[in-house]
Subunit: 497 residues, 2 copies
Amino acid sequence: MSDATPDEAESLDPQDWPAMRALAHRMVDDALDYLETVAERPVWQAVPPEVARRFDGPAPREPEGAQAAYQAFANDVLPYPTGNIHPRFWAWYMGNGTVLGALADFLAATMNSNLGGGNHAANLVEAQVIGWLKDMLGFPAGASGLLVSGGSMANLVGLTVARNTHAGADVRHQGVAAAPKPMSVYASVEVHSCNQKALELLGLGSQALRRVPVLADYTIDLAALKQMIDADRGAGLQPICVIGSAGTVNTGAIDDLDALADLCAREGLWFHVDGAIGAVAVLADNVRPQLRGIARADSVALDLHKWMHVPFEAGCVLVRDEPAHRNSFSLTPEYLEHGTRGLAGGKLWFSDYGVQLSRQFRALKVWMSIKEHGLDRFGRMIARNVEQAHYLGELIAARPAELELMAPIGLDIVCFRYNPGRLDDAALDAINRELLLQLQEQGIAAPSYTTLGGRYCLRVAVANHRSRRADFDALVEAVLRIGAELLGAAPAARAAS
Amino acid sequence: MSDATPDEAESLDPQDWPAMRALAHRMVDDALDYLETVAERPVWQAVPPEVARRFDGPAPREPEGAQAAYQAFANDVLPYPTGNIHPRFWAWYMGNGTVLGALADFLAATMNSNLGGGNHAANLVEAQVIGWLKDMLGFPAGASGLLVSGGSMANLVGLTVARNTHAGADVRHQGVAAAPKPMSVYASVEVHSCNQKALELLGLGSQALRRVPVLADYTIDLAALKQMIDADRGAGLQPICVIGSAGTVNTGAIDDLDALADLCAREGLWFHVDGAIGAVAVLADNVRPQLRGIARADSVALDLHKWMHVPFEAGCVLVRDEPAHRNSFSLTPEYLEHGTRGLAGGKLWFSDYGVQLSRQFRALKVWMSIKEHGLDRFGRMIARNVEQAHYLGELIAARPAELELMAPIGLDIVCFRYNPGRLDDAALDAINRELLLQLQEQGIAAPSYTTLGGRYCLRVAVANHRSRRADFDALVEAVLRIGAELLGAAPAARAAS
């Protein structure tokens, strides 16, 4: 082949490969330092206004070079993470990530494989990972699966298959208006909001989500569910699906999945499990019994970037009925027709099972993580987090004059508040609101919050392989200190006392 | 803080940090070697059966360690990429990726930021990137945007907003059955299949996609479009949206976007542009004029992992009407309520604009890539690919006795076939089918194929910053050689001659 002509010398490859290599090695050292010392830094710090202003400018027309791009990152981005890499981050529900997981994303992007389909190794990796997850949850070998961006997409895919198979009409072709009756889907009031979003997207409308009351432990009330299904049928609706929660976002409650499976079998309904939080806890000895019945689901959404600590994004949906799954998404135009030889050969066409056509190699970080640690270690990490949640519960129980547990600890989520007594709920809400902000702003710990029964609470979701008991000691100590400071300072608190 | 107790010593962090660091440096060297020498390897090679079998086993229960996980990757995965990193990969429509793009994914996963929302630097990066893309396409500053997994998701988001704003009912709450009339959406027969998938997902059904004929240059027939809209209105349908294609997948045709914008304005329709292939070509002097009118769209889907060569996945949707966008997706439960201070402070809540709640830091690779190269270099790379497509067209035209151009070169996509004369279409289909497989199997080049007017053609989509003219010389040379070999060997060819 002839050499490049002068106008062909430019590309997006490094013009100086050794310099790029040196920069890459520097990045590795910086990143390893960053993660090795994460516990020494504040869990979170606000982006200072003068830094934030640096993100206001227009795109450069001329090259600034890789070195400058990295320097801008190192100066203005790296110091201000979300915080979920830190041992005292317990907000919302996220994993920490791992070093090898991050490196796997580099390797995946280096190959830049596209897992829409075809004959190349990345698809084999994803197929193997899906097989592992099917095994984990007790799904049959013939079930299908797809790695997706996370729980929202996994639930959307599962609910799409539920809609398409139970509508009583060819809704893929004719739309949901062709269904003989309005469809309805059932879940507890504690179900994650992404399921509502999915039903809105699917054209069923949020009114199709029938919200079932919960028991005192925040699990779905099965008797109420049965009554609602019967009443809706009587009112001309067409129940199609029940969503069980395997770990609710507020309190970590796990619905009685076995009972839901029984009910769905009796009623002829699709049984979907939103297991974004808790499904992978089948690996943990102290949770597995609570998840009995998950293997009977028609579809399960799970997340690897939460309690498996794979870096964002990595979720998975499993569907028991592979043809139903494929028939909801496969739409193969000629330019994508599957062959038996060449690049377009092979049987692995993941784009037939979900929304995306081009798909990144997110399977690699899952595959390498599971090889690195083995499933049992993940199980031990999950079990330890559950123990830590109960440890925090004990710390709270030991200070009844100042701290109040607000809900049973369903899994690994602890909802509590600072409550020194003599304050009404409005004053307690105000003091705990400020307390949370100061915990974060002082860089000590990052719980988030929720409201239970109308009351504001600190919410500690312990999906963190870096947390140790001492971190919870530090949390409680800081809550007591800041609470006392606020109690001394707050006019509202004084007024109510 | 006290030291870890014995049962707390285990985590998913490296037990031997120096060993992990050494492994990471080895990965960097291997990956840089891999990319620096990519042109020396076959564009593609099949995964050998004995390698494929290694992906059959169960998940390990016990740790294998990071080193072993990497070795398995290096042995069994790395040698078998999709091929789109190679200078002679022109299949489907993918970018190459870049070295810094891959490193940026490592940095993003190291921080493991979650761009659902909140006050941290990653959100500022995404906001800036979206601002840059709005500027690029001429969208107003008040428009909204979201980085997504790619074109399929970007189109889905745009069409969701179109549906929700033009349904004539509160479809988010009541579902699409509440719309006064069945909705219809218009696009040329050449529109990408993901748009049909989106309408199926949205509950409108594939029948809602009204496929408009194309002109000889494969752009939408505007007169036919107008007639179909009128006829559908007469038949009781409710036209809501026209999808313009800025670069069709078969031939790279760009619809007359200005005329479509005029029509949508007159008819009161949402104007969505599927610019997954071509929108970023506004950066290229030799394409920009063809994209006139894209700035008038209500929503645009574009891809950064195609012609901007950001590693998978990186797409973007822009929506002119920010409240309409937010009102289609925002659904903020209490545990996610936005504040003004702390981690949950700030105005950037990207989860209010799309399907996902947890979102990876894909903005970083876009941001660092644009800083590294500057927009003008991307423009030159795109322009060069268009020139290369026409260069290939010239090579084809120079061999009229053997090669046949099958469609006008709309952008950077060349459809042609080996046609030595004296063969009927069935024989030509067979010979070109085999020819494509041999091109791939011999590792020479990876076009894909499509059918145009029922005829099988090789399809060369030149979104490749590594391609040089010599690569197209090599392609044509190989096509002529393999074609002649097949012509000599094929009984079908002999029979028809």
